[in-house]
């Protein structure tokens, strides 16, 4: 595949991620911070997000499984996850966290368990999407092309 084609494929993929609500404008901000002085910025940020998320999900699963549930602790973890997903523009994960926090407030453990599953699913989805996107970017760069700039209103 030649570079132009790869770039068009990338643009199409990005557009779909926005249309489907996986990513929001915050992700575009991150892309704009990548340049010759900071060529690996997006990969670094996304990798850190994956690391953080996996740790938080582990902690959440543990907290939710306790005999005597500490809702404050669960809420603190979800708050953190909401923050990091918002930082990267992972909109659906962020929204799932918002719903989760409401149930923490209500101290509804069954709803919390269900929310945890939701959040996990959304995380796995966006992780796959981001990995695909970054792979496309690597291919473009390897072929000597540059990653297109996307506008978002």
């Amino acid at each position: 595949m030649e570079v132009g084609q790869m770039q068009r494929q990338w643009m199409g993929y990005m557009k779909s991620l926005f249309m489907e609500g996986f990513l929001d404008g915050q992700f575009l901000q991150l892309q704009q911070l990548q340049d010759e002085n900071n060529p690996e910025f997006v990969v670094e940020v996304v990798s850190l997000f994956f690391e953080d998320s996996e740790r938080i999900l582990k902690d959440l699963s543990f907290a939710v499984d306790q005999q005597s549930v500490d809702f404050k602790k669960i809420d603190a973890h979800v708050h953190q996850f909401k923050g990091s997903s918002a930082s990267i523009g992972a909109q659906r994960v962020k929204n799932a966290c918002i719903a989760f926090r409401n149930f923490c407030e209500e101290q509804n453990i069954d709803a919390c368990r269900s929310c945890l599953q939701q959040v996990k699913q959304e995380y796995i989805h966006v992780k796959n999407k981001l990995e695909t996107l970054l792979r496309l970017e690597q291919q473009i760069v390897a072929a000597g092309g540059s990653i297109p700039m996307m506008e978002w209103n």
Binding site: V45, H79, Q80, S87
Partner: protein, 138 residues
Amino acid sequence: MGNQEKGKGLMESQNSADKLTALVVDDDKLVRMIHQGLLKRAGVKNEAVKNGKEAVDIHYSGQRFDIILMDKEMPIMTGIEATKKLRSMGILSKIIGVSSCTEAKKQEFLKAGIDDYQVKPLTIGVLNSILEVVKARK
């Protein structure tokens, strides 16, 4: 240049009045990375620390910054405590209180001495308007 003490951290700014410096204070590594990336792109020399105490200590060591991005909730010393401490030390830097909450404790943070309050993460646009104000002051 204002009433600030000049410490070793600000030597560069005497050569070029345009070169701003910033300190990122946040316990979240992801937020630090993003805010530092934002500052780097804007050409602002920057450092990062992970809680309020480290922010105070770096000032005790003599360093000074034009801008401080201060997170609110941090272990060991919160943004509110650190802001109060820095102001009592006579630090006149522009302190931007940064938080993931919109209204909660905003008043308390403002009272502690921040100049402005923003929801995190900052965007390029928000940072640019902050930088405009700081540059004009200089």
